[in-house]
Every structure is written in structure tokens, then in C-alpha cells.
């Protein structure tokens, strides 16, 4: 608890300082979609679960291959 409190004290003060003097925020920013791009939800599942010995059958829909 003491270690956590010490970290918390240092982080808390640093965050207040950063917010007041170092953080630049945009007033009329872009939408999230414009800034980062559209959702990648279709890529959510990343790995192939199928057994390598039986790799012809895919269980999980994956991203489009190119």
C-alpha cells in the first residue's frame, strides 16, 4: 500500500502538471472515424483455431487475404 501510495502521489502531481502546462487539446477535432479510420471489428479474431493436421477447414471468419 505504501509503494502504491508513493507511486500515486508522484503520478497524480505529474498528471496535474501535464494537464495544465503540457497537454494540447484540439477544440474542433475530427471525428474518431476520420482521425483513426473505420472500425476493424471484422479482424477481431486473429488466430486460426483449426488443427494444422486438418487445416482445410476454417472455424473462425478471418480477415480477407490479399
Amino acid at each position: 500500500m505504501r509503494w502504491y501510495s508513493e507511486m500515486g502521489r508522484r503520478t497524480w502531481l505529474r498528471e496535474v502538471f501535464e494537464f495544465m502546462f503540457k497537454t494540447v487539446r484540439v477544440r474542433e477535432g475530427q471525428s474518431l472515424k476520420t482521425f483513426l479510420g473505420p472500425t476493424l471489428e471484422a479482424r477481431e479474431y486473429a488466430l486460426e483455431k483449426a488443427n494444422p493436421a486438418n487445416s482445410a477447414r476454417r472455424i473462425i471468419p478471418l480477415t480477407e487475404s490479399r
Partner: protein, 448 residues
């Protein structure tokens, strides 16, 4: 062929403020299999001393690598640093092959390869087997198309990006060992100077929280052999003096039977190690009758993702938890001398002062020992992202997308007022008399 693994310096406040640093587990996980496959591997942990980019390049050049592999702790906020570092590496070592892996590149592979010519190959998903296949192919100057789980620019047409089929999920997590020999254990600590490592008992999570990408990244919940893991911890303590294990799992307690077997095996090892990690409140409540084993094995703190107070919000984010369960879990952990740390998210679009006032009251009722407030930070590969696509970005420096800076505007509150709530809630929770008592006067010295 020589491989240099680089852990880039993280800009997030969590990396820069504490004196303690944990080893880069992801890089060690691929380092072990590469060494076992016969490659010469070295690690540069630039995060440890916040190494400047020119020094990292110098250190890497001194090792004369054929391949540099970079990863980071699943954090998009480190990506800008990685790109800058790769650019500097390529300028100095033009023949170098740069390979980049981790959660962010797994999902953003096509954009990264399109926008960052300094990065040659992306390893998607878990990399233990993929990096070995990749390195063998590179050594034999073989066809990269045959390596599963990577993406690269087409050698015939550099404007074209190729993605190979997804890697096979590693079913037996004990098939690949962690390359502990790549680090000097005395450099890594946590919990106020205790020699520490990061480990995974499991990978993945079966729950459907829509803001989290871990479920999809790991695809399915799997666990290590509990007895083998306990033996590894015992060995780390006896041979390297490791005193604390930080579990990187989303859900180490996912299987009661396996977790119990692990706890009993670790108790049998009879090593005085402390365990910290994250889990779900529901698992703590489920394990009420074996929480004494948690403590006996060394569990000193579990982080619980409370995230929100209202059942409606919990349903919206598909948390699959209840307010009652969260409170019960904290109470049970306290009864067994285990510190509870609650994470709580602010920055939902419709949030008003009254919601934050209620949040404070609820958190006071939950009465966690430690609190960590986070700003809502969307990732493109999570289902939550779609619900936030229209929201206005107010922080355009992605290095600050580290959960501790507000990145999206809320409809009813300017950033300064949300920040005021954020810091006030932290302050009130940690300075209330109960919290001060636990800090200064708790009868259990380990707890204090």
C-alpha cells in the same frame, strides 16, 4: 543469423514515473524459441532507462544484427515511437530487416506497411512459432508467402501488401519456453524494489466486454500446465531471486480447477513469492471457499475491472458483471488479506456531473483498497469502436492515448471539468480515513 529484440521506450506515464520496471514478456516469449532454433539473439530493453533513439540505434548497430524485431506491450500509444525508431535504424543499417509484432500491428498491418517503408515484415498474432518459421525462411532465402501469420510488401511490387493466412493458435502454451537468459533479473523490479517478472498462466478471455481486444487477439482461453508453471516460479525464485510475479493474463482464474491446482502446486514449492494480477469479480466470489489458498500461495493484489457503476452501462459495454458481485469480491478479498485494486472508466459520451458524483459515491461504497481511474480509449479492433466512431477527437498525439489522457470529447462537459472529477475522485478515495488506516496502521505488514 543475428536477431536483436528491442523493447522501445514507452512514453506512457506508467512507464516513466516508477523506478520499477518489468521485463518485456512478449519479446522474451519469442526470444526463447528463436534461441532454441539456433539463432543468435540479444535484447535491448530501451524502456528500462528511457534510452534516446540515437543510443538505441548505436547499441543495435554494435551487435551487427541481420534482423531487428520490435514489439510493445499491446499498446497503440507506443506505435509512433516504434516508427521513429525503425526510421532511424534503417538510416544507419540499410540492409537490416525490421520485423514488428504485437497487438497494434496485428490489426493495423496493412496501414503500417503502406505508411512506414522502414518496417519490412509484420508478425500478426502470437509469435512464438511464427518468428521461428520466419527466421528459417529468411535464412534459407525462401518464399515468405509460405509463412503463416505475417504481412509484408510484395517483393515484385512494393506498392502491394501481402497478408499470409492466420497463424495457428498455440494449443499447448508449454511448447515454447520463455527466454529468461536474455535479461539480467537484477534490473527488473516491482512493488517497491522487489525483484519481479511478468508471466502468463493463460491467454485469452471468454467474456464479451466490447471495449477489450484481448478476447479476439488470443482467440480462445487457454492455460499453461499449472504444475509446470509453479515449478518455473519456484526455479525463478531459487536461481534468480525473483520475489514477485505479475500475471499479465486477462483471466488467470478462468478455470477454478486449474487455478486451484496451480495454487496448491505453488504452495508445495514453498517459495516466498508475491503474486499480483487481474481477474474478474465473479471468479473471486466463485472461489470464496478457496481464497485462503490464494493468500497462502502469495496472492497479494488482484485488479478488478469495475469500469462503471450503473447496470445499464455495464450492459452497454457487455461487461457481464454485476454491482453486487463487485462489492462482494472486494469484501472477500479484504477478509483474506488480499489488496483489491479497482479500475474505473470515465469519459462516456453522455456523462454529466451527476454521473460522476454517483460514480464517486458508488466507489466509496465499493471501498477498494486501491483505485485506478482511466479515460475511455477506443481501439479500432474492438466492437466498442463502432459505437464511438462519430465522437470528436481532442487529443491528436497518439502517444498520449494511454488511458491517462482524455482523447474523446464528451457531450456535456469540457475536458477541464472531467479532469477535475478524475483527479478529485482519486484523491478522495485514497485520502479517506479508511484508506489512510490501511496505509499506516493495518495489522498485516505485507498489506501495509
Amino acid at each position: 543469423m543475428k536477431v536483436v529484440l528491442i523493447n522501445p521506450p514507452h512514453t506512457a506515464i506508467g512507464s516513466r514515473i516508477p523506478d520499477d520496471h518489468l521485463p518485456p514478456l512478449g519479446l522474451l516469449c519469442i526470444g526463447g524459441p528463436l534461441i532454441d532454433a539456433g539463432f543468435a539473439v540479444a535484447l535491448i530493453d530501451a524502456d528500462l532507462s528511457n534510452m534516446p533513439l540515437n543510443r538505441i540505434v548505436e547499441e543495435a548497430a554494435n551487435r551487427e544484427p541481420d534482423v531487428v524485431m520490435l514489439g510493445h506491450s499491446g499498446s497503440s500509444s507506443a506505435h509512433a515511437t516504434v516508427v521513429a525508431l525503425c526510421g532511424a535504424l534503417k538510416q544507419r543499417l540499410s540492409d537490416l530487416i525490421i520485423v514488428y509484432g504485437g497487438v497494434h500491428p496485428t490489426y493495423h498491418w496493412d496501414e503500417i506497411l503502406r505508411d512506414s517503408p522502414c518496417i519490412d515484415i509484420i508478425v500478426r498474432e502470437e509469435g512464438e512459432q511464427t518468428v521461428v518459421d520466419l527466421m528459417r525462411t529468411l535464412k534459407a532465402q525462401g518464399d515468405l508467402h509460405a509463412v503463416r501469420g505475417i504481412a509484408f510488401r510484395d517483393p515484385q511490387d512494393s506498392a502491394k501488401v501481402v497478408e499470409t493466412p492466420a497463424a495457428y493458435m498455440i494449443r499447448n502454451l508449454d511448447d515454447h519456453r520463455i527466454g529468461w537468459e536474455l535479461i539480467d533479473h537484477s534490473s527488473y523490479s516491482y512493488w517497491g524494489g522487489k525483484r519481479a517478472v511478468v508471466l502468463q498462466f493463460s491467454r485469452g478471455c471468454p467474456y464479451l466486454c466490447n471495449y477489450c481486444g484481448q478476447r479476439g487477439y488470443w482467440t480462445q482461453w487457454r492455460h499453461r500446465d499449472p504444475v509446470k508453471l509453479a515449478r518455473e516460479i519456484g526455479r525463478l525464485h531459487r536461481e534468480h531471486g525473483v520475489e514477485l510475479i505479475n500475471f499479465a493474463d486477462e483471466l488467470p482464474t478462468g478455470s477454478r480447477r486449474m487455478w486451484r491446482t496451480f495454487l496448491e502446486a505453488l504452495i508445495a514449492e514453498n517459495v516466498p513469492v508475491l503474486l499480483v494480477g487481474s481477474t474478474r469479480a465473479g471468479d473471486i466470489v466463485r472461489d470464496a471457499d478457496i481464497l485462503h489458498l490464494y493468500r497462502q500461495a502469495g496472492v497479494i493484489r488482484f485488479l478488478l475491472g469495475i469500469e462503471a457503476y450503473s447496470e445499464a452501462t455495464l450492459t452497454q459495454i457487455r461487461k457481464g458483471a454485476s454491482v453486487h458481485e463487485d462489492r462482494q469480491a472486494i469484501r472477500l478479498m479484504r477478509q483474506h488479506g488480499i489488496i483489491s485494486m479497482a479500475t474505473y472508466v470515465v469519459g462516456f459520451e453522455e456523462e454529466r456531473d451527476v454521473d460522476l458524483w454517483r460514480s464517486l459515491r458508488h466507489l466509496l461504497r465499493y471501498d477498494p483498497d486501491q483505485i485506478q481511474l482511466l479515460y475511455l480509449t477506443p481501439h479500432r479492433w474492438t466492437p466498442f469502436y463502432k459505437t464511438a466512431e462519430h465522437r470528436q477527437v481532442i487529443q491528436t498525439d497518439t502517444r498520449r492515448w494511454d488511458y491517462k489522457h482524455q482523447v474523446l470529447a464528451t457531450r456535456h462537459m469540457p475536458p477541464w471539468r472531467l479532469f477535475l472529477w478524475f483527479k478529485s475522485i482519486e484523491l478522495i478515495l485514497q485520502l479517506r480515513p479508511k484508506a489512510l488506516y490501511r496505509l499506516l496502521g493495518h495489522p498485516d505488514a505485507v498489506f501495509r
